[in-house]
């Protein structure tokens, strides 16, 4: 059979397969994983909240009011039903204070008579969204700033839990991202070197990783966090905590990267590139890394929840971020004693956020991993 008579390719290869990259294929498989897709939307929603914190939070997270300590959640109602019939009017109800005769304690109860209208896109004092976009409206607010507006209730100092939760989301989620980015950086470089060159360096790195991973994490974190100077600014503490979390986080990612390098190193197409005379750098960046970006994305996604949990745990114990920084961990710190839990259970809402986000990130990461490697389960 001569060369000229070979069948043209257009007949044998489906045109649909034309421009499908590895990532496109991965996305197609990912979409079949419904739980992962739902989780993706949840994660996206949380990160949107983090990005738009100033706009979404009704008041400043540090704004306090001694009149409304431990005020219960008001919720938001949309329908007003009075002598004129019913009409659409978003509002919250005011509070009545009552004395609990058994405990001889002042408590708040919702007063259904008092209606405080809620405005959407309410004008406020000018602020900068995410630090650089000048804005002067918030998603919602009350007409009179002196009226109580505690959708999710108030804490010990009468601060709005919803606003604090929204700002805490920003800190907790970004510390997860920043920590994973840092871990990824070290993990890829160290794991990449170990996997590509192997030999003594590989053995040394793997022993170090095993050593780090064999240490109990909580005491290690506690020790490192306790060593942070007390007079550091909020920003400095934030970055210091990120670095402390990444100190352990990189080991897992380095292992994943090393494993991929080891398995790819013996692939024929890598040998082919070596025989082409390609430099190590070209082989790594053009031939090896693109083959496992999807795996790295999945591994990184699965590492985020660990970071968030670690930050929450550290802050909860009072050794991570410190007030006045608002994070889920520092918020939960307020819900530490039994009295608070009995009288103001709404202070546990940050815990619900933690659970939802961690689960969503885990399902999302699982979906990504399965999509990246359909045979690797």
């Amino acid at each position: 059979m001569a060369v000229e008579t070979m069948p043209p390719l257009a007949e044998t290869a489906p045109p649909r397969a034309r421009r499908e990259s590895q990532l496109a294929l991965m996305w197609r498989r990912f979409r079949q994983h419904q739980l992962a897709v739902v989780s993706l939307w949840i994660v996206v929603a949380f990160y949107l909240v983090a990005a738009l914190a100033e706009f979404l939070a009704p008041v400043d997270p540090a704004f306090y009011s001694a009149r409304y300590t431990y005020a219960p959640p008001q919720g938001i109602n949309f329908i007003v039903n009075d002598e004129n019939g019913w009409r659409f009017q978003p509002h919250v109800n005011g509070y009545k204070s009552e004395i609990d005769p058994a405990a001889m304690r002042r408590t708040f109860v919702i007063d259904p008579e008092e209606i405080i209208p809620v405005r959407f896109f309410a004008p406020t004092e000018p602020y900068r969204l995410a630090g650089f976009i000048p804005m002067s409206v918030k998603l919602m607010g009350v007409e009179n700033p002196r009226d109580p507006f505690y959708v999710l209730g108030a804490d010990r100092l009468g601060r709005d839990l919803l606003s604090r939760l929204i700002h805490g989301t920003r800190i907790s989620l970004s510390i997860g991202l920043a920590g994973v980015t840092l871990s990824l950086f070290f993990g890829i470089i160290i794991g990449g070197f170990a996997g590509y060159y192997g030999g003594l360096f590989d053995s040394a790195v793997m022993r170090v990783i095993e050593f780090i991973r064999s240490m109990p994490t909580i005491p290690l974190w506690l020790g490192l966090a306790a060593a942070l100077p007390k007079d550091w600014s909020a920003l400095q503490t934030y970055f210091a905590i990120t670095i402390i979390l990444s100190l352990i986080g990189w080991t897992e990612l380095a292992r994943v990267v090393r494993g991929r390098f080891l398995s790819l190193r013996t692939e024929d197409f890598v040998t082919a590139a070596q025989l082409d005379g390609a430099s190590d750098w070209r082989i790594i960046t053009r031939h090896m890394v693109p083959s496992f970006t999807s795996h790295i994305i999945a591994a990184a996604t699965l590492a985020i929840p660990g970071m968030i949990l670690a930050e929450t745990a550290l802050s909860f114990l009072g050794l991570g971020l410190q007030p006045p920084i608002v994070s889920w961990g520092t918020l939960l710190q307020e819900a530490q004693n039994i009295r608070t839990l009995a009288t103001a259970p709404w202070l546990l809402t940050p815990g619900i956020c933690v659970v939802v986000v961690i689960l969503a990130l885990n399902f999302f990461g699982d979906g990504l991993r399965d999509a990246a490697d359909p045979h690797g389960r």
């Binding site: 059979m1 001569a2 060369v3 070979m6 043209p8 390719l9 257009a10 044998t12 290869a13 489906p14 397969a17 034309r18 421009r19 499908e20 990259s21 590895q22 692939e267 024929d268 197409f269 040998t271 082919a272 590139a273 070596q274 025989l275 082409d276 005379g277 390609a278 070209r282 053009r286 031939h287 693109p290 083959s291």
Partner: protein, 358 residues
């Protein structure tokens, strides 16, 4: 004809274990291999699995470092280049002349690169061509192996096995090489596709003036394409002969055994089953003393167990064998096997790819 490649006393030893848990063991994959390759010829390297034929190919192209020995390449204008003595950077210009085709067309093409980029990669690395010229050269080479220009934007997974192997051939040929090492280039393909690819290789050989080292375990394929055959056993070259002489009258009992194992395609001529290979290959780390083949050889004598025969020319001909009794043994070739009868034709002529898989 001029010499293109000389291999002298090539050995490859793998060291296993060592360190904390007991002493290291040595595994000799290649033992004192030597041959010369003339420009324009097709040399086949055959043998059972584990005989070192792939290792030999990889050592020649320096995909693996060698333990002892030399590989000399003879470029057109220069006398001799010792490939085994060159560092990574110094060998790069010669990588344009010596290229490799891989066995598995599924794993030898980067799944994340488009076909155009796969074939263009060697040109880019060697900075041979760029822009319009690069594009022309890539499309031209792909057209020669039968890949249409409108398919070059696709990824390898959109192609069939035969098409992928042709892309791999295009990648090897795009640099205009002189020597191509084809490591089991057709054994992963369907028999019908094998013939296609073999014919393509043959056509390209005359068009580009190529020299092939064709590593295979398929004697049918070898008979079809090779000018000369190197038979390997346990890392040794046991016979090195022109294809016709080897198939007509092998001089080493191992070659006879390989030829006897060929199945006969015509059932009316078949008087029994093809003889399968007797015995097993000894473990490489525990090689026999004396002739490496004596544990399976039906002609073995005392001398075979104690003394290792050297590879030598038989009666001054082009046929070389490493057997103490190469001159005296009357070994049967593929033409006159005991099971096929005296008039048995060579079972493989014109039907490449139907040979036995050893």
């Amino acid at each position: 004809m001029s010499t293109l490649l000389t291999v002298e006393n090539l050995s490859k030893v793998y060291t296993l274990g060592g360190g904390l848990f007991g002493p290291a063991r040595e595994l000799v994959a290649l033992n004192d291999v030597g041959f010369t390759l003339e420009a324009g010829e097709t040399l086949a390297i055959v043998g059972e699995s584990g005989c070192g034929k792939t290792t030999l190919g990889r050592c020649i192209i320096k995909a693996q470092p060698v333990t002892h020995g030399h590989v000399y390449y003879h470029p057109k204008d220069q006398a001799k280049v010792e490939l085994t003595a060159l560092g990574k950077r110094d060998i790069k210009p010669w990588r344009r002349d010596i290229r490799m085709i891989f066995q598995d067309p599924m794993s030898s093409l980067n799944p994340n690169m488009r076909v155009f980029d796969i074939v263009a990669e060697p040109l880019r690395i060697h900075r041979v061509a760029r822009g319009k010229e690069l594009e022309e050269r890539v499309l031209d080479t792909l057209a020669k192996v039968g890949i249409a220009p409108d398919a070059v934007g696709r990824y390898p997974h959109a192609f069939s096995g035969g098409q992928r192997q042709r892309i791999g051939i295009a990648r090897a040929l795009v640099l205009d090489p002189r020597l191509v090492i084809a490591d089991e280039a057709v054994s992963a393909l369907d028999v019908s596709i094998q013939a296609q690819v073999l014919n393509l290789l043959d056509d390209l050989k005359s068009e580009f003036g190529l020299t092939y080292i064709f590593i295979s375990h398929d004697l049918g394929v070898v008979n079809y394409i090779a000018d000369r055959v190197l038979v390997m056993y346990l890392g040794h070259v046991v016979e090195n002969a022109p294809t016709e002489m080897l198939f007509e009258r092998p001089r080493h009992p191992y070659t006879e055994m390989l030829l006897e194992a060929l199945p006969i395609a015509d059932p009316t001529r078949r008087k029994g089953r093809s003889k399968e290979l007797k015995g097993e290959i000894p473990y490489l780390g525990n090689r026999p003393r004396g002739c490496p083949f004596h544990t399976r050889c039906k002609y073995a004598q005392d001398i075979c167990r104690s003394e290792k025969p050297a590879l030598r020319s038989i009666n001054g001909s082009a046929q070389m064998a490493a057997c103490h009794f190469a001159e005296t043994l009357d070994l049967k070739g593929a033409y006159e096997s005991s099971i096929g009868g005296g008039d048995r034709p060579l079972p493989l002529e014109g039907r490449a790819g139907e040979g036995v898989v050893l």
